[in-house]
């Protein structure tokens, strides 16, 4: 399969890093690879061309000469350009929901882009974050049960929906929705429209008519982040008929690298407001340009990982772990807690996908070299130990190991691997303690926070059991253990 953008860029910049100086030829060579990588990530061709042109111009010349390591500089320039393109450079004005009520927000897009789900998510977001009273109305009279779908979602999320009256046209429903919202004191009315193709003249005219009749304060284009080159056509077709004010990118939890985000931002000229990140109704996040650019550049979605971990991690557990850590203790139960934590966070491959430099690990997992059931099996092994064994693993004799292996349905080798991993993690914890505990971690964090996978940062991922492995990351953020991939984990996975 094609390389992910981050892998490909990672490869280029590895090569660049190895050299002392960066020439124009180097930059152009790198940019050729960047171009292919962006195309493979589904960034639209015209957008790619502009991006490459601008970035090449920036990379060649004074800016590069000043830098200490040329590779770092190119990474920074590409990264900055990506962020600039994604965010548009200026601060995004907030959604216009504080107008004379009701504010009208209209959702448009292709079939299957995720409009209805996004409508419900946005309604929930407006309700909880902005404290708005929201009414949703489905104008989709084309797809069977579409109005029913929104009604059910409204029920699930506790958001009012406009009662369905069969036989009304979309414009009639829209007007009724606005009327009802005004009379019943709603702050915001969300209009979920039918999916339509940019080339379908009749439906595009209908959409323009709805916009004309309701004069929406916001018209949000809902776009599937899996979209390919067609993103340009979609964006321009919708932009030509209604005054778009923003974009919602859905399915950002998929494994597409987000190329559509680049295309959408640059073609619509409107901000990407939100990213849909899951099937649940609260899975809507403010779009973070820096984070997406970082993910594209192979720095991994570190911020996302930390946030996810923070949400999952029970504070009590964290405190207990921190205490133990302070004393330099780390027993089998702690290891088990970590494994459980990892499972919560979407298993190994979910984690690996978010981590910088973990592309290889993810590939190994996908190819079956690392079994996703691994976590379960490791947990089973630890659960098959007695309490005493868990706190003092050094008492494990060959006989005990056989018992544990039988009890957990594994082999003695597997048990040994878990023990080895525990040993390595415990050592890592001790090392960390020597480095000055939390303060040291924060220092490391600051070093990483510079944003660039420089020679040190990038190299560490390849160094087994090195300073910046997944475990260290979790620890760096002051929440020991959470989401850590223990040192030596790779060894365990191999058969």
């Amino acid at each position: 399969m094609f390389d992910s953008l981050s892998e490909r860029l990672g490869g280029i910049f590895d090569r660049l890093r190895g050299r002392g100086a960066l020439t124009e030829i180097d930059v152009r060579a790198a940019m050729r690879e960047v171009r292919v990588a962006l195309l493979e990530a589904d960034v639209a061709l015209p957008v790619v061309k502009d991006f490459i042109e601008a970035t090449t111009a920036r990379a060649i010349g004074a800016e590069v000469i000043k830098s200490v390591t040329p590779g770092q500089m190119v990474v920074k320039i590409v990264n900055d350009s990506l962020i600039e393109l994604l965010s548009g450079g200026e601060d995004i004005p907030p959604l216009k929901v504080n107008v004379t009520p009701p504010a009208v927000i209209m959702m448009v897009g292709l079939q299957g882009s995720g409009k209805t789900t996004s409508t419900a998510k946005l309604a929930g977001w407006l309700g909880t974050r902005e404290r708005k009273k929201v009414l949703m109305a489905s104008l989709d009279v084309a797809r069977p049960a579409a109005q029913e779908q929104l009604r059910v979602l409204g029920e699930q999320a506790g958001i009012a929906t406009l009662p369905i009256i069969a036989g009304q046209t979309p414009v009639q429903i829209a007007e009724r929705a606005r009327q009802s919202a005004r009379l019943q004191g709603f702050d915001v009315v969300l209009l979920d429209t039918a999916g339509r193709l940019g080339v379908d003249e009749a439906l595009m005219a209908e959409m323009a008519a709805i916009a004309g009749a309701t004069n929406p304060d916001e018209i949000l284009l809902v776009v599937d982040s899996l979209t390919g080159q067609d993103a340009v056509n979609v964006a321009s077709a919708f932009k030509a008929r209604v005054p778009l004010t923003g974009v919602i990118l859905t399915r950002m939890d998929g494994d597409a690298r987000g190329g559509a985000a680049l295309s959408m931002r640059s073609v619509t000229g409107t901000p990407i407001r939100f990213a849909g990140t899951g099937e649940k109704l609260d899975a809507l996040e403010a779009f973070d340009a820096a984070r997406v650019a970082g993910r594209i550049l192979g720095m991994g979605d570190i911020v996302g990982l930390v946030e996810k971990a923070a949400a999952n991690f029970e504070a009590e557990q964290a405190e207990k772990m921190a205490e133990k850590l302070a004393r330099g203790q780390f027993d089998m139960d702690d290891l088990r807690q970590q494994l459980a934590q990892m499972k919560k966070m979407g298993g190994l491959s979910g984690l690996a996908a978010m981590m910088p430099g973990m592309g290889a690990a993810k590939k190994a997992m996908d190819s079956g070299a690392i079994n996703p059931k691994l976590l379960d099996r490791m947990e089973a092994i630890i659960l098959s130990m007695t309490m005493k064994e868990r706190t003092k693993p050094e008492i494990l004799t060959a006989k005990r190991k056989i018992r544990i292996a039988n009890g957990s349905g594994t082999t003695v080798q597997d048990v040994n691997k878990v023990l080895k991993m525990h040993q390595e993690m415990a050592n890592a914890m001790k090392r960390l303690k020597k480095m000055g505990g939390m303060k040291g971690m924060m220092k490391m964090l600051a070093g990483m926070g510079g944003g660039m996978p420089g020679p040190e940062g990038g190299g560490a991922a390849a160094d087994p059991g090195g300073a910046i492995d997944m475990g260290a990351l979790g620890r760096m953020f002051g929440r020991p253990g959470m989401g850590s991939l223990p040192p030596g984990f790779n060894k365990f996975g191999r058969k």
Binding site: M1, F2, V36, L39, E40, A41, D42, A44, L45, L110, Q111, G112, S113, G114, A142, R143, P144, A145, A146, E148, Q149, L150, R151, V152, L153, Q156, L197, G198, V199, D200, D224, L226, T227, G228, Q229, D230, A231, N233, V234, A237, R251, D253, G254, D255, A256, G259, A260, E279, G346, G347, S349, G350, A353, D366, P372
Partner: protein, 303 residues
């Protein structure tokens, strides 16, 4: 209107652009020089063929030495031929060979599974076969209602449970009923899922295992529904759904829009899975067999 007409019409806007890109630089008979080859390559990329496939087709064209010159239509025909060559081996309709033939329909959210199922059911029914649907999307709100409405419109029975129910046990029940009632074709809908969601993909594997208890050969077909607007991620979808659900064939939807579905070319090269049909509209008879020549012609605007 013929399906080809509809496809061409849908594609016309983008096709025009593609055709212009391919031939825009040439007036009359000109050599196929680097500049023109570049333009062709970019046009193919813009049609979602992906940079690698586009580069390969460009190389093949360069090898064929059109130094003497070639006119616009010639270029279009040559490119169409190249594309058609890749697609020809995979253009295979869905054949009914079992009774009941169990067809499992899978795909990411919003790719058009439910609509495709309705269209398939309609086609099989028109062929004189008895068809049954199973509402296996127990997750999305109103998905069951949506399929039920389609079942009524087509006039076929449907096996449905409640939202939030277990899809695997529903599928099991549906297969059992289809066997008992002597149904020819059973089409099972599934909830849309992103291929990187391991848990949801495991559910799909479970559903397959459960059905196989009744008939080891079932499901006889696992059809992956691809949205034409999807870019290179389609390849990842085919790969992962292939691994987990054992995809046996593809259906591409939404080809009546401006998306050209060029990644089918890359998919055909990489996986060689049969492409059963394409969706070219929202009406029930807008599911058409896939023909390599015509698709390639529409793709490059050689019609």
């Amino acid at each position: 209107m013929s399906w080809f007409g509809r496809l061409s019409e849908g594609l016309s806007k983008s096709t025009k652009k593609l055709a212009n890109n391919i031939t825009g630089l040439a007036t009359g008979t000109l050599p196929l020089d680097e500049e023109r080859l570049d333009a062709i390559e970019e046009a193919l990329i813009a049609a979602d063929l992906g940079p690698r496939v586009a580069a390969r087709i460009r190389d093949r064209l360069a090898d064929q030495k059109y130094a003497k010159g070639i006119d616009d239509d010639g270029v279009r025909a040559v490119v169409a031929d190249e594309v058609a060559q890749v697609l020809a081996p995979v253009a295979r309709p869905l054949a009914i060979t079992h009774r009941p033939q169990v067809i499992l329909v899978v795909g990411v959210n919003g790719s058009g599974k439910t609509t495709t199922i309705a269209k398939l059911a309609n086609r099989f029914k028109a062929d004189g076969r008895s068809v049954m649907l199973a509402a296996g999307d127990t997750f999305r709100a109103a998905a069951i209602a949506q399929l039920r409405i389609w079942a009524d419109r087509v006039g076929v029975p449907i096996v449905a449970g409640d939202q939030g129910g277990d899809a695997a046990s529903l599928a099991f029940e549906a297969v059992k009923r289809a066997m008992d009632e002597g149904i020819d074709v059973l089409i099972i809908d599934t909830a849309g899922r992103l291929q990187n969601k391991t848990g949801l993909m495991d559910e799909l594997a479970k559903l397959k295992r459960v059905i196989a208890k009744l008939d080891p050969a079932a499901p006889h077909d696992v059809v992956l529904v691809l949205d034409a607007t999807t870019g290179q991620n389609a390849l990842s979808q085919i790969e992962v759904f292939g691994q987990v659900a054992g995809v046996t064939g593809l259906v591409m939807t939404k080809l009546d829009g401006s998306a050209r579905g060029g990644m089918l070319v890359a998919a055909a090269e990489t996986f060689g899975l049969p492409i059963h049909a394409i969706g070219v509209g929202e009406a029930m008879d807008d599911l058409q067999p896939f023909t390599a020549q015509e698709f390639a012609a529409a793709l490059v605007g050689a019609a």
